[in-house]
C-alpha cells in the first residue's frame, strides 16, 4: 500500500477515533440499548466517513460531521423498516399513572438529583422505536422539531405529539421509580 494512503488512514484515525464513545452512545440510544446493532452502526459510520474523508473540511467540527453520518445511516435503516407493521401501538400500552403524577408528587423535581440514570436510560430504550428516535434526536441530540421531522419523514405536528407522549411516559416511569424507592408516597 502507498505511503499517502497510510498517512491518510493515520490522519483519519487521529481525528475520528477520539469520538468513538460519543458515536457509540448515540448509536446505543437510537438502537434502544441493542449493543451489537449499535456497534454495527458505529462501524458502518466509520467506514462511510473514511471513504468520504477527502470531503471533510479540516478545522471544522469532526464530531458533528461523524454524528450526522451516524444519524443518517440509522435513519436510512429506520425508514426501510417503516413499511413493517408496528408491533405495539403506544396507545395500547397499559395506562400509567396520570401524566402529571410526578409533578404533583415532586413539584420541585428533587427526584432528578436522586434517580439512578440507568433506570431512566432503560425507560428510554423501552419506548416504541418511533417515539424513542424522536426523543433521542430532540432531547439528547438537541435537534429542532423541523430537523427531526425531516429525518423521520413525518409532519412537525407528529414530532410534537410523539415528544409529548414519550416525555410523559418517561415521567410516569420516573414516578414509579420514585414510589419504589420510597421517595414519594
Amino acid at each position: 500500500m502507498s505511503i499517502p494512503a497510510e498517512q491518510r488512514r493515520a490522519e483519519f484515525e487521529d481525528e475520528a477515533l477520539i469520538h468513538l464513545d460519543a458515536l457509540f452512545g448515540l448509536a446505543l440510544r437510537l438502537s434502544g440499548g441493542d449493543e451489537p446493532r449499535a456497534e454495527d452502526l458505529v462501524q458502518e459510520t466509520m467506514l462511510k466517513a473514511y471513504r468520504a474523508w477527502d470531503r471533510f473540511e479540516a478545522g471544522t467540527n469532526c464530531r458533528a460531521w461523524l454524528m450526522t453520518i451516524l444519524r443518517n445511516t440509522f435513519i436510512n435503516q429506520f425508514r426501510k423498516q417503516k413499511s413493517r407493521p408496528v408491533p405495539v401501538e403506544f396507545d395500547q400500552l397499559a395506562e400509567r399513572p396520570s401524566s402529571d403524577a410526578l409533578y404533583e408528587a415532586d413539584p420541585e423535581g428533587r427526584i432528578f438529583d436522586h434517580i439512578i440514570d440507568d433506570q431512566v436510560i432503560a425507560a428510554i430504550d423501552e419506548l416504541p422505536e418511533e417515539f424513542r428516535v424522536a426523543v433521542v434526536l430532540s432531547d439528547l441530540e438537541g435537534l429542532s422539531y423541523q430537523e427531526v421531522a425531516e429525518l423521520m419523514d413525518i409532519p412537525v405536528g407528529t414530532v410534537k405529539s410523539r415528544l409529548f407522549r414519550a416525555r410523559k411516559r418517561l415521567q410516569g416511569r420516573l414516578y414509579e421509580y420514585a414510589v419504589e424507592m420510597g421517595y414519594v408516597k
Partner: protein
C-alpha cells in the same frame, strides 16, 4: 412583577392574546424547546410572569428536559470496538 392567582387577572394591553392556564400548559414543551413563534412565545411568557400556578410547572418541565439531555453523555464504547474499527480501516486501505 406582582404575583396573581390563576387565571391571570392582571391588566393586559388590549389586542394582546391572553392565555388560560390550560392553553399555556398545552404549549409548555414548545415554549421550553424554543419552538414557538415570537408572538406565541411572548403570550406564554406573559402568562408565566403572572401565574404562580403555571410557573412552577414550567420550571419542573425545564428541570426534566435538562435531566434527560444530560443522559446523552457518559456512554463508553465497549472494549474491542476500537480494534475492530482499526482493522476495518486497515482492510479498506489495502
Amino acid at each position: 412583577m406582582t404575583e396573581c392567582s390563576t387565571p391571570p387577572t392582571g391588566a393586559e394591553r388590549p389586542g394582546e392574546p391572553k392565555l388560560s392556564c390550560e392553553e399555556a400548559l398545552a404549549r409548555v414543551y414548545e415554549y421550553l424547546d424554543g419552538e414557538l413563534g415570537a408572538a406565541d412565545h411572548d403570550a406564554v411568557r406573559r402568562h408565566l410572569e403572572k401565574c404562580r400556578n403555571c410557573y412552577p410547572h414550567f420550571d419542573f418541565e425545564r428541570l426534566f428536559l435538562d435531566y434527560v439531555h444530560e443522559l446523552g453523555a457518559g456512554e463508553k464504547a465497549r472494549p474491542g470496538l476500537e480494534d475492530r474499527v482499526r482493522e476495518m480501516l486497515a482492510a479498506e486501505t489495502d
